[in-house]
């Protein structure tokens, strides 16, 4: 399918070579924190349809965590490596590997990661994959490098879902793509709007809201079989689905009582039960990481603010206090960080809060609809620019930004998928 283009956010500090300009990133204030890693060309990698080492380099560079050094030579995983020479050139780690075409037309991709300081091997992988999965295999290797060098699981092989819309042509698509915007596939399309996609924790299903019945109705779609289930089509509006961490339940917003309130339902649409009880708007529910609480947006105090309540019901406690418009709460998978959208001095900005200390950090302006990466290190969001809506990614420390756009129409409503086995 068509690929997304990763465009330059601004020309603050460009990393990498011109060949990978479409994956360029903005990095501010990183300096010596970056891990210098050299990536060699993989032996015989030209036999595969994708250049594995180039994808690994682009992934690592895009993360903002690494200072990627081109090894300027081909090194196979079976070769003996002069680690001292790489250490001398400034690389603390070295990635080498090889690609081999197998008799059945697939590709055997092997890789090794070395610590040039300790002069030891840190990791190795070897997999045989189909031609179309060589790109995925490169992302998996980048994930392994990221995890071995940072201690945090990588997200390069994860996927994202978003809505691509061309309102003038009345064309609305629910799209699934790799986390770098490559390999777009259409999961659903039609002539009426689609909003609020949400990946199931096991990555097999997406819940979303479609307006095909002239009102918002919540569906769960199996991405592999295409089978759709109506999870909520109650009188009034049905919206804002979010999965429980164990994937058995959804919290959602219904207006069946007249005002928009939060309900909980089993993933098959059974067992609908009301959770919140206010006279105003309660919406955008999100489970906490432990599944015991629900964060949501409510206008019970006037303007919209973020609250938290027990999944068993009861009193809600207010979470946001600064500013008169705080919406779209999202919780990181470790439960420590809350991301949300706050309107301050006119514009809508993406904020992150350390939930333990209450410390706030403004991450991006002109932002809406945030979604955490499954490792909690990045947040994808929709952003307006040049009259169009695009997607952007920012690291939770605010230092790395990327932007994804398409050639026509808007892309919005991102949902970052889970880790896949």
């Amino acid at each position: 399918m068509k690929k997304l283009h990763t465009l330059l956010f601004s020309a603050t500090l460009l990393m990498g070579t011109a060949a990978h300009a479409q994956l360029s990133v903005e990095i501010a204030g990183v300096g010596s924190n970056q891990i210098p890693v050299a990536v060699a060309a993989f032996a015989d990698e030209s036999v595969a349809p994708e250049q594995v080492s180039a994808i690994i380099r682009a992934d690592l560079q895009r993360s903002g965590v690494f200072k990627v050094i081109d090894a300027r030579q081909t090194i196979s995983d079976s070769a003996s490596v002069d680690m001292a020479a790489f250490k001398a050139s400034g690389a603390d780690a070295l990635v080498v590997g090889s690609v081999k075409r197998t008799a059945d037309g697939r590709f055997e991709v092997r890789y090794k990661l070395f610590d040039t300081v300790k002069k030891s091997q840190l990791s190795q992988l070897g997999d045989t994959v189909s031609a179309r999965n060589t790109r995925l295999e490169a992302h998996r290797i980048a994930d392994d490098v990221y995890e071995k060098l940072t201690g945090t699981r990588g997200i390069f092989s994860t996927r994202i879902a978003y809505v691509k819309e061309n309102r003038a042509a009345r064309d609305y698509q629910l799209v699934v793509a790799d986390a770098d915007g490559e390999g777009e596939q259409i999961a659903a399309h039609g002539k009426e709007p689609i909003i609020s996609p949400a990946w199931s924790p096991d990555g097999t299903r997406v819940a979303y809201v479609s307006f095909e019945l002239r009102k918002p109705v919540i569906y769960v779609q199996n991405l592999v079989t295409g089978q759709r289930t109506v999870v909520a089509n109650e009188r009034g509006s049905n919206s804002a689905p979010a999965w429980s961490p164990d994937g058995t339940k959804l919290v959602l917003s219904l207006s069946k009582t007249g005002n928009t309130q939060i309900f909980i339902v089993n993933a098959d649409g059974s067992g609908l039960r009301r959770l919140s009880n206010s006279n105003g708007i309660d919406t955008e529910p999100q489970f906490s990481a432990d599944g015991q609480s629900v964060y949501f947006t409510s206008d019970r105090s006037g303007g919209p603010q973020i609250y938290k309540m027990s999944v068993g019901g009861g009193q809600a406690t207010r979470v946001t206090f600064k500013g008169s418009y705080n919406i779209s709460p999202r919780v990181s998978s470790d439960g420590k960080t809350l991301a949300w959208i706050s309107q301050r001095e006119g514009g809508f900005s993406l904020y992150a809060m350390d939930l333990a200390s209450g410390q706030e950090l403004r991450l991006a302006d002109g932002a809406s609809e945030p979604s955490f990466s499954p490792n909690g290190k990045y947040i994808m969001y929709a952003t307006k620019g040049g009259g169009r809506v695009a997607l952007a990614v920012v690291s939770v420390d605010g230092r790395v930004k990327q932007r994804l756009t398409t050639q026509a129409g808007n892309i919005r409503e991102p949902s970052w998928g889970p880790f896949m086995k």
Partner: protein
């Protein structure tokens, strides 16, 4: 006397027998057939024309000049109260629905595109709900109406700026 009686009976029986046996009808009035058209004066060309009658039952919903043609109720910024200029719209449709119990409507609330997708959906619901409550107060049955929201997803005006935003702060009455 008895002879007369006998004659009468014989005559009656004879008549009955005759009736039973005769192939001709007792009622012998001749059937008057219309003479062939050719034998009469030629008809005027207009004899097959039909003069239409106005029944007065044109569906008022389909009358572009009628009061029911206006189906949009506009709202002020950050407001969820039916304005004075929207009240006639609500009243006209309420009167029609109260009289036509078989008709059903969707009330679709809308917002401008500033702010969050889902929060705007909830705000659009508030606008639809304001219209629904006004119509209920005017006698429209609950079963005839459903208040829903399209949020910021179906703008009437795709521009930005106050005039476009004002156009999109709206609830539409949609007949089903």
């Amino acid at each position: 006397m008895s002879n007369y009686k006998s004659v009468a009976i014989v005559a009656a029986v004879a008549a009955m027998l005759s009736a039973c046996s005769s192939p001709t009808k007792l009622n012998d009035a001749p059937v008057v057939e219309k003479p062939p058209v050719a034998n009469t004066a030629p008809p005027a060309d207009t004899s097959r024309d039909i003069r239409p009658v106005e029944t007065g039952n044109v569906d008022p919903l389909n009358d572009p000049k009628g009061v029911l043609a206006n189906r949009s109720v506009y709202f002020d910024f950050d407001s969820y109260v039916v304005r004075d200029d929207g009240k006639p719209v609500v009243e006209n449709h309420s009167a029609f629905l109260a009289k036509n119990k078989q008709r059903h409507i969707l009330i679709q609330g809308n917002t401008d595109d500033r702010g969050g997708t889902e929060y705007n959906l909830a705000l659009g619901q508030k606008r639809a709900e304001a219209v629904r409550k006004s119509m209920a107060a005017l006698g429209v049955a609950d079963g005839q109406m459903e208040a829903v929201s399209l949020g910021e997803e179906k703008p009437k005006s795709t521009g930005s700026g106050e005039s476009a935003w004002a156009e999109n702060r709206r609830a539409d009455i949609v007949y089903q």
